[in-house]
Symmetry: C2
Amino acid sequence: MEYIQIFSPATVANISCGFDILGLCLDTVGDKMIIRKVPEKGVRITRIEGASLPFDVHKNVAGVAALALLKAIETDFGFEIEIIKKIKPGSGVGSSAASATGAVYGINELLGKPFSKSELVQFAMEGEKLASGSMHADNLAPAIFGGFTLVRGYDPLDIISINTPKELFVSVIHPEIEIKTEEARAILKKTVSLKKAILQWGNVGGLISGLFLEDYELISRSLHDEIVEPHRSILIPGFNDLKETAIQNGALGAGISGSGPSVFALSKGEKTAQKVADSMSIVYKELDIAHKIYVSKINTEGIKKINQ
Amino acid sequence: MEYIQIFSPATVANISCGFDILGLCLDTVGDKMIIRKVPEKGVRITRIEGASLPFDVHKNVAGVAALALLKAIETDFGFEIEIIKKIKPGSGVGSSAASATGAVYGINELLGKPFSKSELVQFAMEGEKLASGSMHADNLAPAIFGGFTLVRGYDPLDIISINTPKELFVSVIHPEIEIKTEEARAILKKTVSLKKAILQWGNVGGLISGLFLEDYELISRSLHDEIVEPHRSILIPGFNDLKETAIQNGALGAGISGSGPSVFALSKGEKTAQKVADSMSIVYKELDIAHKIYVSKINTEGIKKINQ
């Protein structure tokens, strides 16, 4: 195999109470990437479409992730990367993670899979570091593993695949403004009250139990964020209205996707998820905010090879 | 049925990262209680063995819990309670919870089960309030539901039964000193760093996942408490040595049981749990600290009727 085409999915991280640990993989939104084995050693980015991103491999998350992988294995050939961005950078659904995972997944496939999924996440974290200034895996893990993933911790990196209830669908609304991950991080308080922290880990326990038990009501009761959402939501226009209308229209819960500005809602069934998406769109139409809207099942396969 | 004999089990709350939310039910340690339906209305405590506790129903957790239940239902008869304590008060394995749950479970059985398990926990919380000054359910829930339980939150009370892996055994060592729950609470800081809180809820997610997946290694990796143990463990003589020897002898993890002074360890298999218990006992023998030691499977049934 000399060349591979990939669907590199968008992801939702920071799922309500699961700040910094819980993410999920989308199915209908993602980048296309082509990775090609070439005689010249090293990594080159030969095509970028759909976004204005650097071709310099040391300044592009896909390039940095690819170089991290190639540092761990000796090859007497190199790789060319084409990136067709469908996920807007800075939208909060793992745009940089899609680029980073696409590069390492594709190269790993062309090399005959010498690396495990966890190792791929580790290489891709180098790319995420370039994008956000910190090493995190909460978008990378669901992109590589699919479904819901828990990043239990980083010392060492510990990723756990969580069961994905069959009827769970995601609605995502993306207002066309940009929030930098670094800025969204800066708004967070460095300390939290023990009382709120206990509420939060109670909800984490409830959400994970709800996913394993496929108990939609329990998932709904657990989708609360006591710690981060109160601060970050002020950066997102109309956040409270979006959340309220989503829940009124049947969503199990809603929250900030990643560090925003996208807002996600989880629903039982595609029909409800569509209704929820439509209702959120109306909020932004009334506020005259340009936006995109997506409805997706949860992609339990993760990043994958495609034919076209 | 005019009379019922009950095994009211000891419980381990605050399981490492699961402070205030996660508990489990023991099988070999528990009180015996006898509840009798009598013509005179109200509640009387007619016998207390094994501990020096008040007979005044308003000052006894069993009495207070029983009265809370009887406030919710009209009866033209009353109940007598006999308490044979095997769980030492203040030992950190849910002594007051055993008394409170025994009273409400027994009366509910004699009344033909008008109340749900969750309602019984709610009545028993009144008894716990008398014992510790705050309404909490983290020992009551495993005593009533059996197995591992998550108290997701209190508004309203939300208890979730978590899967109990078959081969999980508990070792408990109880140094014969007393730590009051109120004092153990007072030692806690009111705020925690966001960084540590994230580690903690990552571990909560890992522990709950490990229980559902019956993944003993994951359970082991998740049994850490970044928040409470560093403060409370200083109240327990030889805590670090107990924990170290438990893990060296094969325990998956160890921590403070409830608010102490008992220390628990979880192990895969009864043989390992026994070895772990023996090793912890040696630590206290060397330190010349009087102690009791228990090894128990996890009681998935919870509080139950017994014949003798």
